[in-house]
């Protein structure tokens, strides 16, 4: 069959099971856009900024586990993707970005809208391609999807010169195994590693599991639960690991790290065995590496061999698929008890509960923590939440316990403000039957709020929650703690978000009192379209606990108990 390069792109996307592409047209990608008219089964979502396209593809991927697709033109279209690609890279999210490029003959001539996007994205993609030969196109797209979704997932970019898109070549979809001799993700542990890990587990008196994003990506939630229950090992979660274990499970202690539950951090510091599963010891979860969990032996399972011994030296490092390896461990794992250790952790948890802001007199103030807590309550704790970056993100992580995998999406590694709204739109495309809530700050929302138009044009429903503290709150918090309250460039002039929503035809509601929150959830549910709810919250709320950057993990700033003085 004689097809143009652009048509080959469509044929390949269909064979990869793609349902929706997020993109924005332009000169160098027009042949692909024109080919779309012949393939109506592939839905295209017109974004308002290519960053939004990358985040939507990312949100779709995180919600479904499938590969998200973003499309942009050459030059500025491609560079606008960069933040979204970086976000997907740092959180190992599988997306494929397709960019148009100037014609092959013009490459290197600084032609109109020519940019070296494969050069620019080289360090922020798992792999990328510049298609030189139209006959290679189908192979490349197939490889791109394979690389994006397997092993440690990540973004792959395919840059296609316009004349390749136009060129007609004989198309035959490549069958058979993909030939990538240098791409061999590890899978299982060997017997020695398993024996060593089991021995450490048997000896441990104060073991703790650190469960990360890898659990979700490899679908190992059941294995995690079984391992934890059988050997009675408490589980702590990374930010991206939320959902890996039901948070109301008695063995789930909660989130670790900079704004994690104090009980988790104390337990990690005091443990005699860390079992790190599909996580990478990011500095936001370890604090000072020199004093990190000083008395523990360490087992680390991760699919990426370069993560083993990168930040934390471990006793048993297993490069493998975390689900496969846990399956192997479970075949030999004995039942154990750690009642004393679990009781000790429970004490820390009770102490933490006492300090909870929800136990404070709110004196007529509306706290972000209350909003999230009540949203959790009135949504039955079962929504898909997509947060942006800042205080509201940490409050979401602390006050919205998740019970199921892939129900909490957030930019963890790159911490990209502006992620929330577009990622929520992408997630909704992936999970149309679920209730999707975007939880964003007044700052981050304004970075990508242009996507409100996308939501309306495409008729997709997300519930947008703006926690408006009229501040770049998280930065303000750092200024309060570490820069003697010099609030340089953090107070925000904001538009009237309600009027803004109305300009797009989006139903909107402003909430200023806690007793309106239940109604706001009803309001959101009463509309078929995207809605926006602004919660005008206390300006100077603080997210506790906090491990100051680089400090020892156990040296957290804690909120005093009610009646106690701030130390």
């Amino acid at each position: 069959m004689l097809l143009t390069g652009a048509e080959i792109v469509m044929e390949c996307l269909i064979r990869e099971g793609v349902e929706v592409m997020f993109g924005y047209p332009g000169g160098a990608i027009l042949p692909v856009y024109d080919a779309m008219t012949k393939y109506p089964q592939l839905r295209h979502v017109l974004v308002r900024h290519e960053q939004g396209a990358a985040h939507m593809a990312d949100g779709y991927a995180r919600a479904t586990g499938k590969v998200g697709v973003a499309i942009a033109t050459s030059g500025p279209g491609a560079t606008n993707l960069v933040t979204g690609i970086g976000t997907a890279m740092l959180d190992s999210s599988p997306i494929v970005c397709i960019t148009g490029q100037v014609t092959r003959g013009a490459i290197g001539s600084d032609a109109f809208q020519e940019i070296d996007i494969t050069g620019i994205t080289l360090p922020i993609t798992k792999h990328n391609y510049l298609v030189n030969d139209t006959r290679e196109l189908a192979y490349i797209i197939r490889e791109a999807f394979h690389i994006a979704r397997t092993g440690r997932p990540g973004p792959v970019l395919v840059d296609i010169p316009k004349d390749v898109q136009n060129e007609k070549v004989e198309f035959e979809y490549p069958e058979g195994p993909i030939r990538l001799p240098g791409y061999r993700p590890p899978s299982a542990a060997d017997d020695d590693q398993l024996a060593a890990a089991l021995e450490l587990i048997k000896q441990a008196k104060k073991p703790i599991i650190l469960a990360g994003h890898g659990i979700l990506m490899s679908g190992a939630s059941n294995e995690l639960r079984e391992l934890s229950e059988r050997a009675q090992i408490p589980v702590t979660l990374t930010l991206l690991g939320k959902g890996a274990m039901p948070e109301n499970h008695p063995l789930c202690v909660g989130m670790m790290g900079m704004h994690g539950a104090a009980a988790c951090n104390y337990a990690i510091q005091e443990a005699d065995l860390l079992i790190a599963l599909g996580m990478r010891f990011d500095d936001r979860v370890t604090g000072n590496l020199k004093t990190y969990s000083p008395n523990s032996r360490k087992i680390h399972v991760d699919i990426d061999p370069s993560e083993i011994n990168k930040n934390v030296k471990v006793d048993v490092g297993i490069a493998g698929d975390v689900r496969t390896v846990m399956g192997q461990l479970l075949t030999k794992l004995p039942a154990k008890q750690h009642a004393e250790w679990i009781a000790r952790i429970r004490d820390w948890q009770e102490d933490g509960d006492e300090r909870d802001i929800l136990h404070y007199e709110s004196e007529g103030k509306l706290y972000g923590a209350q909003v999230i807590n009540d949203l959790w309550k009135y949504t039955g704790g079962d929504a898909v939440t997509v947060s942006d970056v800042g205080q509201h993100q940490m409050l979401e992580a602390q006050y919205y316990p998740h019970q199921r995998p892939a129900t909490m999406l957030t930019s963890g590694g790159l911490g990209t403000m502006g992620f929330g709204l577009p990622a929520a739109i992408g997630a909704k495309f992936g999970k149309p039957d679920e209730e999707v809530w975007a939880i964003v700050g007044d700052g981050g929302f304004q970075m990508t709020m242009a996507e409100l138009a996308t939501a309306m044009q495409e008729g997709v429903k997300v519930n947008i929650v703006i926690l408006n503290n009229a501040f770049l709150g998280m930065v303000r918090q750092w200024q309060e703690f570490f820069y003697e309250e010099r609030y340089q460039a953090t107070p925000m002039f904001n538009p009237d978000f309600i009027k803004l929503a109305e300009a797009y035809g989006i139903p909107a509601m402003r909430v200023t009192r806690r007793d309106q929150i239940e109604e706001s959830v009803r309001f959101a549910r009463s509309h078929e379209t995207t809605v926006l709810i602004e919660y005008v919250i206390e300006k100077e709320e603080i997210v506790y606990p906090m491990v100051p950057a680089g400090a020892d993990l156990h040296n957290m700033l804690r909120r005093p108990k009610p009646g106690e003085k701030q130390s």
């Binding site: 092959r104 003959g105 490459i107 290197g108 070296d116 494969t118 050069g119 080289l122 360090p123 798992k126 792999h127 510049l130 030189n132 030969d133 006959r135 290679e136 192979y139 690389i147 010169p161 490549p174 030939r179 990538l180 001799p181 240098g182 791409y183 990426d304 061999p305 370069s306 083993i308 011994n309 990168k310």
Partner: protein, 190 residues
């Protein structure tokens, strides 16, 4: 003695445009300090081979190997310095030989090294040496007082001793051989 705190990594890579760029980018991004890096073809048309020497005090060769292995175009990686291996560096050294004394001195020095004079005139001579890196260094030190005016080195290449063979699957070849050699466009950098 220099050899002791050096680690040598060998990588087999796909012979495709951009691969050297990917490797160099990786080292820059991860802040891996590299002493030398050489690339060359192998007896297989689609495979190139890189030798990378690092100072173990500054970066762990195993980390480099693990990160290199992640690159899709890197087919295999081995830390050859973990086991017995052979390594060679080649240098061309141009020295001043504008009087009989210096010509004699150069000739005598070269006799004590696996080196030879490949060009000699009334003003300068070019000496070629192929040896282990520390021996090349020693020769350079001896020639220094005579007057080195120009020098080039290839960087180290290395190979494990004995029957441990670093190779790719015999039947490996790319899915499709690109038509880049048409020469009408040059798309990738490096």
């Amino acid at each position: 003695m220099i050899e002791n705190n050096k680690q040598t990594v060998v990588a087999l890579v796909e012979n495709k445009p951009g691969v050297l760029n990917r490797v160099a980018s990786l080292f820059r991004r991860r802040n891996f300090n590299v002493d030398s890096l050489t690339v060359g073809r192998t007896h297989k048309p689609y495979i190139s081979r890189m030798t990378i020497v690092v100072d173990a005090a500054r970066v762990d060769g195993r980390r480099i190997a693990a990160n290199l292995f992640k690159l899709v175009n890197v087919i295999d990686v081995k830390l050859v310095s973990e086991e017995p291996y052979v390594s060679r560096d080649l240098a061309l050294i141009k020295v001043r030989t504008d009087d009989a004394d210096s010509r004699n001195a150069v000739t005598l020095i070269c006799e004590r090294y696996p080196a030879r004079i490949v060009d000699i005139g009334t003003k300068v001579a070019i000496i070629e040496i192929t040896a282990q890196e520390d021996i090349v260094e020693a020769l350079i030190n001896e020639l220094e007082p005579i007057g080195i005016v120009e020098m080039v080195r290839t960087g180290v290449v290395a190979m494990g001793r004995g029957v441990r063979i670093l190779d790719v699957d015999a039947d490996y070849e790319p899915s499709i051989v690109s038509s880049q050699e048409n020469g009408n466009y040059q798309a990738y950098s490096v």
